[in-house]
C-alpha cells in the first residue's frame, strides 16, 4: 500500500507539495521561536555566575542587571569611591570588583575594571576567564580585548586602539590623544565579555584627563607620559560585583547596602533580578508561542482540505482498487499513509529550514545582541513538539480516510460515477 500511496501522491505533486510546504513553514516557525527563546535565556543565565551581589547607584534592579552585566542601557549615576571603600570594609564581604562603563570603541563597549575582575568574574557554572594570548593590563594604557572584538576588528597584540566617548557606533569625538595598546586577548566565552574592551580604572581616568568639563580640551592635550605620572586613582565607578564569604548572609548585606545613608545605592541578587527579567519577558514569549501554535494548526487544516478536496475525484481510483481486490480497510489505510507521508515530509522540510534560519540568523543575533545561538540537535521539548505535530497530522488524515472508507462501501464496484 505504501508504494501505491507514494505514487498516488507523486501523481498529484503540486497540491501535495503545497501541503508539505505549509506544514514545513509552521514547523520552522515553532522550532525557531522556541530555540531563540531558549538560547536567549541560556545566554543570559550563563553570563552571571559566582557573583553574590551587584551594586550600583539606586535605579531599578532589572536596569542595574542589564547595564552592569549585559551592557544594555546605561547607569543613571555613579558610586563614589568613598562608598566603595566603605563597602570593601564590611566583614561579610570577600571580594569586590569595580566596573566603570560609558566609553566605547567602534561600537564595542569599554569596561574599566581592576585585575580582580579576571580573578573573580565567572560565567556558565563557575568557569573563569582565560587569555588566549598576551597578558593582562600592566601599564595605564594597556587593554585586554574580548574574543569577538579582536576577531571582528582584526586586532592583534600591540595594536593601537583609540577609544571614543560615549557608546555610539561612530566615534564623533575620540580620546585620540591617549591611544591604548592591546596587551591581551581573551578566549571566547559566549557572553558579553567577548564584545568588551577591558582597561584598568586608571586607564579610564587617564582618558578623561582632558575632559574635565564634559568636552574635549582643545589643542594638543596632555601627552601619555605626563598622564602616567598623574594621580589616576578613580573617583567613582559605575557598578560593583561582590562576592561574600558566606552566601547565606546575602540578604543582610543587601539590606545594609540598600539602606546605606551616605549615598543612594542599590544591591541586587543576580539570580533574583534575572527571574524578574524573565517574568517581564514571559508575556511576550507566551504570545509568540500562541501565534506559532496557530500557524501549525493552519498548516494541518490545509493538509485536511487538500486530502478532502481530492476525495471526489479519486472515487474512481478507489473503485479500481476495490475491483482489484482491495477491502474498504485498505482504502482507509491508503489515505492514512498519504497524510502520514505528507506530515512527515513537512516536518523534515521544516527541520531543514529551521537549521538554515538558525545558521544564517545566528551571526546576526550574535553581533546585534551578543546572544549565542548555536546549531544543536533538537532538544527534548523540540522532539515533543514534533511528535505532537506528527500525531496531529495522522489524526487529521484519519478524517478524509474515514470518508473515503464510507464512500468505498457505498460505491461498491460501481463504475458509473
Amino acid at each position: 500500500m505504501i508504494g501505491i500511496a507514494w505514487k498516488s501522491l507523486l501523481n498529484r505533486w503540486p497540491t501535495a507539495l503545497l501541503a508539505v510546504l505549509a506544514i514545513a513553514m509552521s514547523v520552522t516557525l515553532i522550532l525557531t521561536v522556541e530555540k531563540v527563546r531558549r538560547d536567549a535565556r541560556s545566554s543570559f543565565t550563563q553570563t552571571v555566575s559566582g557573583t553574590d551581589l551587584i551594586i550600583g547607584a539606586r535605579s531599578g534592579s532589572v536596569q542595574l542587571l542589564l547595564y552592569s552585566v549585559f551592557r544594555i542601557g546605561n547607569a543613571t549615576n555613579n558610586i563614589s569611591w568613598e562608598s566603595v571603600e566603605d563597602i570593601k570594609k564590611r566583614k561579610a564581604i570577600d571580594w569586590v570588583v569595580p566596573l566603570s562603563l560609558g566609553d566605547s570603541h567602534a561600537g564595542f563597549r569599554v569596561l574599566g575594571t581592576s585585575l580582580d575582575y579576571f580573578k573573580h568574574y565567572t560565567y556558565s557554572n563557575r568557569t573563569a576567564l582565560q587569555l588566549s594570548e598576551g597578558v593582562l593590563f600592566d601599564d595605564v594604557f594597556d587593554a585586554v580585548l574580548g574574543s569577538e572584538v579582536a576577531a571582528e576588528l582584526g586586532y592583534g597584540i600591540n595594536d593601537s586602539i583609540v577609544v571614543a566617548h560615549g557608546t555610539g557606533k561612530v566615534a564623533l569625538v575620540e580620546h585620540d590623544r591617549q591611544p591604548f595598546r592591546v596587551s591581551g586577548i581573551l578566549k571566547p566565552t559566549g557572553t558579553p565579555v567577548d564584545r568588551a574592551i577591558h582597561i584598568s580604572l586608571e586607564g579610564i581616568e587617564a582618558m578623561h584627563v582632558d575632559w574635565q568639563n564634559g568636552a574635549n580640551k582643545k589643542g594638543a592635550g596632555t601627552d601619555a607620559d605626563t598622564v602616567r605620572n598623574m594621580d589616576l586613582s578613580p573617583s567613582a565607578v559605575t557598578a560593583l560585583l561582590v562576592g561574600l564569604k558566606s552566601r547565606a548572609t546575602v540578604f543582610r548585606e543587601q539590606r545594609a547596602i540598600n539602606t546605606y545613608r551616605a549615598e543612594p545605592l542599590l544591591a541586587i541578587l543576580p539570580g533574583v533580578a534575572l527571574q524578574e527579567l524573565w517574568s517581564l519577558v514571559s508575556v511576550a514569549e507566551m504570545a509568540l508561542m500562541i501565534v506559532s501554535v496557530c500557524v501549525v494548526v493552519a498548516g494541518l487544516i490545509n493538509l485536511l482540505s487538500v486530502l478532502l478536496a481530492g476525495l471526489n475525484e479519486r472515487r474512481r481510483e478507489m473503485a479500481v482498487l476495490r475491483s482489484a481486490g482491495a477491502r474498504p480497510g485498505h482504502v482507509f489505510l491508503l489515505l492514512c499513509i498519504e497524510s502520514a507521508v505528507l506530515t512527515i515530509f513537512g516536518i523534515i522540510a521544516g527541520l531543514v529550514l529551521h537549521y538554515l534560519f538558525i545558521g544564517v540568523g545566528a551571526l546576526f543575533l550574535q553581533q546585534r545582541f551578543g546572544l549565542a545561538i548555536s546549531l544543536s540537535l533538537p532538544s527534548a521539548t523540540d522532539l515533543k513538539i514534533l511528535i505532537t505535530i506528527a500525531i496531529a497530522g495522522l489524526l487529521a488524515g484519519s478524517l478524509p480516510a474515514l470518508q473515503a472508507y464510507r464512500n468505498s462501501l457505498a460505491d461498491g464496484l460501481s463504475q458509473r460515477l
Binding site: A324, R327, H330, Q415
Partner: protein, 245 residues
Amino acid sequence: MDETTHPTVTMEDVSFTWPAGERPVLDIAQFSIAQGERVFLRGPSGSGKTTLLSLIGAVLSPQSGKIVIDGVSLGTLRRGQRDQFRADRIGLVFQQFNLLPFLSVSDNIQLPCRFSKQRKQRACQSGLSLNEETDRLLQAMHLSPSEVRNQIANKLSVGQQQRVAVARALIGHPPLIIADEPTSALDSDTQQAFLDLLFREIESAGATLLFVSHDIALADKFDRIVDLRELNAAAINELSTGTHT
C-alpha cells in the same frame, strides 16, 4: 465443458431488494454456470444487471436464497471474508477505468497479487517469477512487454488499456472472470480481436467467464446466451403488471 466438476456459479431462490425499495429488483429461481463455461448475459440497463453482478461478485448480500461460487456459499462469509473471497477468486473487467492511471502497466497487472496471497501464489506456480508471468500475460494480449511494461497506464490507447485490464483480471488464475461491457468503449474492429484474445486465455487458464453486454452481435462464440429479462422474475412481474420500479 464437462460437468464432472462442480459448477462455478450456483444461484437458488435468490431475491434482492434495495433497502429503500418496496419490491425486489431481482428474483431468480435458478441460475448456474458450469466450470469453464462461457456465458453471455444480455440485458438492457436497468434490468438489474449491475445488481446481479454485485451479488455474484459478493459485494451485495441477497435477502433470501443461496449463492455458491466455486464451492463456497457466500451466505456463510462475513463481509471482510467476502471481500477477501472476491480478491482471491474473481477477476473483474469493466467497460472503462479499469486501471490506476498513475501506476505502470506491470504494477496495474500485479495489483490483485498485493491483495490476495492465493493469487500471488498461483501466479508463480508454474515456476515463473511475478514479473515473468506479467510479461507472459502481456504477450498473450498481443502487447509487447518490453515496450509497454513500464509505461504509465494512462499513456496507452483505450484498446490497449482494456487488454491490460484483462491481463490484470487473469493474473493468478482466478476461477471466475466477470466482464461487464468490456468492449463497449472499443471500436468494432478491435472488439472481435479483443474477444478472441480473451477466449484464448480463459480457455488455457480453465476459467469460467460471465460476460455481460447489450450487443448481441458479439454473442456467437459463447457457449450460452442468457437474457436477464427472462431470468429475473421480478423483471417479468414488472412487465406483466406494467409497473416500473
